[in-house]
Symmetry: C2
Subunit: 249 residues, 2 copies
């Protein structure tokens, strides 16, 4: 049985870590100065309740004070993929920071208490003046999403395709592309290395390249690849279906 209901979220209380009795759980070493961040105590989460769901707007980062929260998402094939088992003191929701809305779910496996970190309205034009630290956090967010995407798909060919599309997008092949749905790229890494990244043997990657060509999804000539089909939107930053997700929200 699963609790699908979310309690109507009460207005969370502003909090000060330095005065919190659970301070040492979130900050074992020493409590940082709060800087420009607001900390809000969230209502207690009961086992089975969701902290956020797929498609919900980003509400900030969370810090888990106690309990265990599972973060998971649905892969393109509809399978559930668990991204993180968060325990006391862990940071949650970083993946969603760079996406407009979260493409993952967060559900409590035990009763749990969380605090929410929020940057005040400076956000609007924050891109102009934000701390380096904050921008780096966003990069970290991207890294986590990348890693999540690299998580082994059910099929090696699908994993390879996702990898190539990600690589094309991040290479900024947008400008250099010949046609709308034809992106040419030159890979700086070998088949073996791609395999070591995706978790497959070198030969499996070879055969997957072959299969991509058979299916007309790409033209393969050594390390020169031409991808066919629509480019992956950089907005939501992921392999495929996030645009859809964002649109839904």
């Amino acid at each position: 049985m699963e609790f699908q209901n979310n309690l109507p979220r009460r207005q969370p209380d502003a909090a000060d870590c330095a005065q919190c009795f659970m301070e040492t759980r979130c900050w074992p070493e020493s409590t940082p100065r709060s800087g420009s961040v607001e900390v809000h105590r969230e209502p207690v989460l009961r086992r089975g309740q969701s902290l956020w769901r797929q498609g919900e707007a980003y509400r900030g980062l969370f810090l888990l004070r106690s309990g265990c929260i599972k973060i998971y998402q649905h892969s393109s094939q509809g399978e559930e993929q668990v991204l993180q088992f968060a325990l006391t003191g862990d940071l949650l929701g970083l993946e969603a920071m760079t996406a407009g809305s979260s493409d993952s779910h967060a559900v409590a496996l035990t009763d749990a208490m969380v605090c929410r970190l929020r940057w005040p309205a400076v956000d609007a034009d924050a891109t102009q003046v934000a701390h380096v630290e904050r921008r780096l956090l966003q990069r970290a967010s991207s890294l986590l999403r990348q890693r999540a995407r690299a998580a082994r798909a059910t099929e090696p060919t699908a994993a390879l395709l996702a990898f190539l599309q990600d690589f094309a997008r991040r290479s900024g092949v947008h400008e250099a592309r010949v046609a709308e749905d034809q992106r040419k790229l030159r890979l700086p890494m070998g088949r073996l290395e791609i395999g070591q990244y995706l978790g497959y043997a070198e030969e499996t990657i070879c055969r997957s390249f072959h299969r991509l060509q058979e299916q007309g999804l790409a033209t393969v000539a050594g390390r020169t690849i031409v991808l066919r089909g629509p480019a992956v939107p950089p907005t939501t930053a992921a392999s495929e279906p996030m645009l859809r997700v964002a649109a839904v929200s």
Copy 2:
């Protein structure tokens, strides 16, 4: 052929992103205010050269201005595991931030230019007053290392063992443990969920639990697990050792 030599590292030049001609590569949206971070231009990396090696002291974060850099590490079985293919604008070395020294290698797949980000000596007592943002970055670092560890090992049983040890350490079973090498834990998640996290089928996890018990590495009774053998030192692992890092710098 591979270039194993590292040029003796010249004293890098202090730099200001706002004045850099490649500014838009690192900061496509807008250049952040530098805050308390020093930016240093590093010498150009030639293809095959290393930016850092396993065991080297943490030198700060890097921002890739151009080229492609591969970050990889050796798994326990001696296999190479690629963690990231960094492209222009990507952040490098975040995993190493929370470890005293990096347990990964970084090698240039193409000629590459990087800048190094360094927090000045405030570090010494920074644990007292560090920005929340900076502390969160360290959490992000931990997350990345966690994810790296969850990367599929060659054997499901080894992956499960690593998962359990990580869980035990992060649960803080240190205090509650009965003997030095006997840690009892109660898992809040099911076999299926562990499988969804590690990338294996539910039944495979079951059989791996069985195998762990056979090998005397653990006692399994439903969700109650007793781990035998020495605990995983948190040093190389993840969550805590930030204090040390700050002290080193």
